[in-house]
């Protein structure tokens, strides 16, 4: 067991995603209470007090973001749930959309009330099929039951929601790019300031929060900030949905209380490494978070008492982050040069092309990796890769370029010998594959 639960706290059955089941779990009672008893600023104060941090990657406190919006300034405001979920390794928001879409919708209504947002959106990644269908069905159920539309539950508060489907662009998960996408243009991120909470969608104050961040809020408003703070650690309240994949026995989505032992999570809850292989490294929070060797994270076995804990501070202290919660487990024998090649191919493909260092740098780095993997690497390539990566730092508009650079440098720092070996011997130190097959040698 991975600690207390806020979101995955019910039994999944073939009907547990429906409105009927959600109501039976006490659903939409909190909305009713909020609309009847609280003022918008009471809600915001509670969210500030509960300390919930953004789950989309940057861990910015949700309440502090909301405080920028004045619900009484008479302008239109917008609320967006970010369900773009494009960070490789991440598939946790999908769990919410498929299994408890009403938790998201009820939480969005509460948030919309606090922010005086008449119109809300869920921006869902374009490929999602079952999650989209479940969410769209839930929206229809919620409208039919009077939870969306005019004068909700007789409160005088009106709110609409629109499920907006993306069209296959990773960068559109970035909040300003996402807004451009809703506005019907290319998803180009834009420089801040002004912040989106000042000038967002169509230049109106807009709050963008991740699906998981928002999905905590119905619980927070039902039980209070004080109860919420009892879960997790002092600086990382609550839980995280962790989606774990790669060379792990039981991949999937787990709700983990912040502060839980990482070693225990990997080796016990997730069943350990595929085919009893040793653990080489872990990417903790999506490929844009910095890789950690199993030794650095002290998660070689389940009994590593020194193991890092799963919370924001613990990961920041070792130069990485919980990021998007997309954990990728890497077994001994995996070729890190090939891993970096797959990553750079992705960044190169997904760079929107606005900033020269990102556009040119990603392409350049990707070509270098292709060359190394084809046995034509040169000794100076390694330093060149580091140089290109560091050049992105602070020179780009959005986080894509930066994150790609940090991730690249982390892999080279930890596994430089493998790059040197590949270049010198014109082949991988292992078998050059990422796949882990049963039996002795990798592959």
């Amino acid at each position: 067991m991975t600690g207390r639960k806020v979101i995955m706290n019910f039994e999944v059955t073939p009907t547990s995603h429906t409105l009927e089941s959600y109501l039976a779990r006490g659903g939409y009672k909190t909305l009713e209470k909020v609309l009847k008893e609280l003022k918008p600023e009471d809600v915001t104060n509670e969210i500030v007090a509960c300390g919930v941090q953004g789950r989309g990657g940057a861990a910015f406190p949700a309440g502090r973001k909301w405080q920028v919006v004045n619900p009484h300034d008479g302008q239109p405001h917008f609320l967006i749930a970010n369900a773009d979920e494009g960070e490789p390794g991440t598939f946790k928001d999908r769990w919410v959309l498929e299994h408890t879409p009403h938790t998201l919708l009820e939480s969005m209504l509460i948030a919309a009330y606090a922010l005086a947002a008449r119109n809300t959106f869920v921006y869902i990644r374009g490929e999602f099929d079952q999650p989209y269908r479940r969410l769209a069905a839930a929206v229809e159920e919620a409208y039919a039951a009077g939870f969306f539309g005019e004068n909700i539950l007789g409160s005088g508060f009106s709110c609409d929601v629109y499920v907006f489907r993306g069209a296959g662009a990773y960068v559109c998960g970035e909040a300003s790019s996402l807004l451009a996408s809703i506005e019907g243009t290319r998803g180009y991120p834009r420089n801040r300031p002004p912040r989106l909470t000042v000038k967002g969608l169509y230049q109106y104050p807009t709050v963008v929060n991740n699906v998981e961040t928002l999905s905590n809020l119905a619980w927070v408003m039902a039980h209070g900030a004080e109860e919420y703070r009892k879960i997790g650690t002092k600086t990382s309240p609550g839980t995280r949905l962790i989606s774990i994949s790669g060379h792990v026995r039981r991949p999937g989505v787990y709700e983990v209380e912040m502060g839980y032992s990482w070693a225990k999570f990997l080796h016990e809850d997730c069943g350990g490494i595929l085919y009893e292989r040793g653990l080489k490294a872990v990417i903790p929070g999506g490929i844009s978070s910095q890789i950690l060797t199993a030794r650095d994270a002290k998660v070689l076995t389940a009994y590593d008492v020194e193991s890092l804990t799963l919370d924001h501070d613990a990961l920041w202290n070792v130069g990485s982050s919980l990021g998007s919660g997309g954990m990728i487990v890497i077994a001994e024998g995996t070729c890190m040069v090939s891993l970096l090649r797959v990553m750079l191919r992705f960044y190169h493909h997904e760079s929107c092309g606005q900033c020269t260092p990102c556009r040119e740098g990603m392409g350049w780095a990707h070509r270098i990796l292709d060359r190394i993997c084809a046995g034509q690497g040169r000794p100076e390539d390694i330093d060149r890769l580091v140089h290109i990566s560091k050049f992105n730092d602070g020179t780009t508009i959005c986080g894509l370029g930066d994150a790609a650079g940090y991730a690249t440098v982390a892999i080279i720092d930890h596994f430089r010998d493998e790059f040197e070996y590949f270049i010198e011997n014109k082949r991988s130190k292992y078998d050059g594959r990422l796949e882990c097959l049963p039996g002795g040698a990798h592959g």
Partner: protein, 156 residues
């Protein structure tokens, strides 16, 4: 696209009033669902219907990887080749599909039935490797399951 206008009008009900360029992507997606791709006349129709500059639609069409200007095969097989899927055999899946269909990723079979593509992470990494067939996800795939899938699609 004109026959879809009543549907587009309906979408407006839950959208902020007067901000119709929000409909650009939803309309393009719906048109593509209908025709299989976006034709010149669709762009003309949309420019007129939404009153947005033509260049905006053209830019959107080149920016988003799911939108296309040309028809593709009846069955679009999209294999995720990002990290987690590759760690679970995506490259083997691509090789075997490529051999089976006799085309390289990015190509369509001469009979117009299958298009094979490589795509980035589909947000389904826990059930890797993942292959999308048109709209549907097929998770936890193996060379055997894909062989079966292709055989079924060939019969349909």
């Amino acid at each position: 696209m004109r026959h879809l206008i009543p549907e587009f009008e309906k979408l407006k009900e839950r959208l902020p009033k007067g901000l119709d360029s929000t409909l650009v992507l939803p309309c393009l997606r719906r048109i593509q669902e209908d025709r299989g791709y976006i034709a010149d006349e669709d762009i003309d129709g949309l420019v007129e219907y939404l009153d947005v500059p033509r260049i905006q639609i053209e830019e959107v069409l080149t920016f988003y990887s799911m939108l296309r200007r040309k028809p593709i095969g009846r069955f679009h097989l999209q294999v995720c080749h990002n990290v987690s899927c590759t760690m679970r055999g995506a490259e083997r899946m691509i090789d075997s599909l490529s051999r089976r269909l006799g085309v390289q990723p990015g190509q369509t079979t001469p009979d117009g039935r299958f298009t094979l593509s490589r795509v980035e992470c589909l947000g389904s990494c826990g059930t890797a490797p993942v292959v999308m067939v048109n709209e549907r996800y097929h998770e936890l795939q193996s060379e055997e399951s894909l062989e079966q899938l292709v055989a079924e699609l060939e019969r349909s």
